[in-house]
Amino acid sequence: MGRIPLSYLLNRLFTLFLTVFIAATLIWIIPRLSPVNPVDVMLGRMASGGGSVENSGAILAQLTERFGLNDPWYVQFWLYIKNTLTFDFGISTASFPTPVASMIAAALPWTLGLMIVSLIITFIIGNLLGALMVWEHTPRLWKVAIPAAMVFTSIPPILSGLLLMYIFSSQLGWFPLNGAYGLNTEPGWSLDFAGSVLYHGFLPAMSIVVVTFGFWALGMRGLMITVQGEDYTILAKAKGLRKRYILYRYMIRNAILPQITAFALKIGMLVAGQVLVERIFAYNGMGKLLYDAILDQDFPVIQGVSFVIILMTAVAVFLVDLIYPFIDPRIRHGA
């Protein structure tokens, strides 16, 4: 870590903690401003489940005590922050008494897997296509086709997901309609299971890739136009280096750097889009968990999922900030 000065590291860490703290605070305050009482919701569910509830007054008092709703707000807040930072989000009210943390732990790998795979694919495809839009040796057909494909850029992935799902799952039957793996495959480290996961994950990943690569392509195009006019590119051409070598090692290498910081600005939207895609495809990730929780008014789960996703985003931004000086040796932080 010799390259990163301590002050810069502390600065980024401070922003990370502030982000997480503010998100946690918002998630805590908002439900408390609402007139809906979680204990009433819980009692209502019990009543609808069992017909009538005996001693409901006593249960109410006990639940209120159990959730600590009689304590002053600062005690509640302190306990909440302490629990949240140790990933203790309480107990799900819909599937009582499963801890929220274990539900999230089960869903998180699916979301992370889908996100990382689709992000890498989009980043590569988007930047390559963006570079080809500017490169003077691109075949003419590509120069027409790429801008045409970019039209889908600003469409949210739910819409592309719906269309792809209709065409490839519902009509053609090439891909499954829902789930993250087949019902008759045993989860485990087998080739069968891996194949099933890839097969089920293909369409959700594609619906994200199709509409997000354009964001990177557009940014890349702007950067490539700048790089194209730089002296070093012209010198490389004058030296007679191979065209592709110039494209990859001179132009893209220099243009790609600001793209990595653009990542930090975009990731929030990407994550939100993916949550919705998971909901459509009934993919076993955080999105489905969140959607089911909304249907069931399962507050601890909603809070837990929101917090974990925000935490993921903040950590990703933090990591990008840290990695950046290693990718771009020209950056010397705080020197």
Partner: protein, 316 residues
């Protein structure tokens, strides 16, 4: 020689390049950066949607958005549904599972989506302009606070906080939703304006204005702001897109306004009633396409504005 002189004015152009005056006028007209095909197409598409919402109400009964307006599960004109009934002109785009007319839902829903987007973006922009100028021009402690808070807020996905808001408060109005979304779209204009103001602060004309005793307000809003107009437009349109995406996202999760028809709500209803497996493609398909057109229009406007403000992009 005299023969040549007589013939010249009729056939060739009066100037050296051989371009007639008519062609020259055409070129001048097309040289105007605002005369940008992407920009015009984008505005055209959006205007089409606005017109659908405004004029549609005169040609089609908006009351048909309510349950039981027609026979349920009707296909669009000439399309057979699973029961073998063929769609009629009574419901040109078909009906949903409870008999709501899809065309009426589109006519009422599309302007609602645009309204949320534009209102949220307008509020966000106003906050962004105010904070961006304060940070960039004042500097110091004020700058630190604004910079850090926009850095923090830009990482928090609005959808997730809004899910918490909606889940705790239940039903909200369109305007309320727009205001809530606005709380998450001020960061990028703030950052953009701050960066521009920082670089403009030292430029000649600003120093000139300062020397001639102009007030801070005058410098900020009369000298600097007009130079930012293309950026502000671009940022505004990008924010409209973000706001609509967030609003649609909430609606597709079954949140958002419950009593007003919105496009996202129609898609939500379609998905939760298994329209995909029942092959009722018209139910979710038309709102999806309309939203797609809306986003493509917004994107084209944004690309066009980019080309207007950055001449380097125009060659392509």
């Amino acid at each position: 020689m005299s023969h040549d002189n007589a013939a010249a004015p009729e056939t060739a152009a009066p100037d050296m390049t051989g371009i007639t005056r008519k062609q020259l006028k055409r070129m001048r007209r097309f040289d105007n950066p605002w005369n940008n095909p992407k920009l015009i197409w984008g505005i055209g598409l959006l205007l089409g949607i606005v017109l659908l919402g405004v004029l549609g109400r005169f040609f089609w009964d908006p009351e048909l958005v309510f349950t039981g307006a027609g026979m349920p599960r009707q296909g669009p004109v000439g399309i057979e549904n699973l029961r073998g009934q063929v769609g009629t002109w009574a419901h040109p785009l078909g009906t949903d599972v409870s008999g709501k007319d899809i065309l009426a839902l589109l006519i009422v829903g599309a302007p609602n989506s645009l309204y949320v987007g534009v209102l949220a973006s307008l509020i966000g922009m106003s906050i962004g302009i105010f904070l961006g100028f304060s940070a960039g021009y004042t500097g110091g402690r004020v700058d630190d606070v604004i910079r850090v808070s926009s850095d923090v807020m830009i990482t928090i996905p609005p959808l997730l906080i809004l899910v918490v808001v909606q889940a705790s408060f239940g039903d909200i109005t369109l305007t309320m939703m727009a205001i809530l979304i606005a709380a998450f779209v001020w960061q990028s204009p703030t950052r953009l304006i701050r960066a521009q103001v920082l670089s403009m602060r030292e430029s000649g004309y600003v120093q000139m204005a300062r020397l001639s005793g102009a007030s801070n307000m005058h410098i900020m809003f009369r000298e600097m702001l007009p130079n930012l107009v293309p950026y502000l437009f671009g940022s505004f349109i990008a924010n409209v897109t973000t706001s609509i995406v967030t609003a649609v996202g909430l609606e597709v999760l079954g949140l958002g306004p419950q009593r007003v028809p919105t496009l996202g709500r129609v898609i939500y209803d379609a998905i939760s009633s298994a329209a995909l497996t029942q092959n009722m493609w018209w139910w979710w398909g038309f709102p999806t396409i309309l939203l797609g057109v809306m986003f493509i229009g917004l994107l084209l406007i944004n690309l066009g504005l980019d080309e207007v403000s950055n001449p380097r992009l125009r060659k392509l």
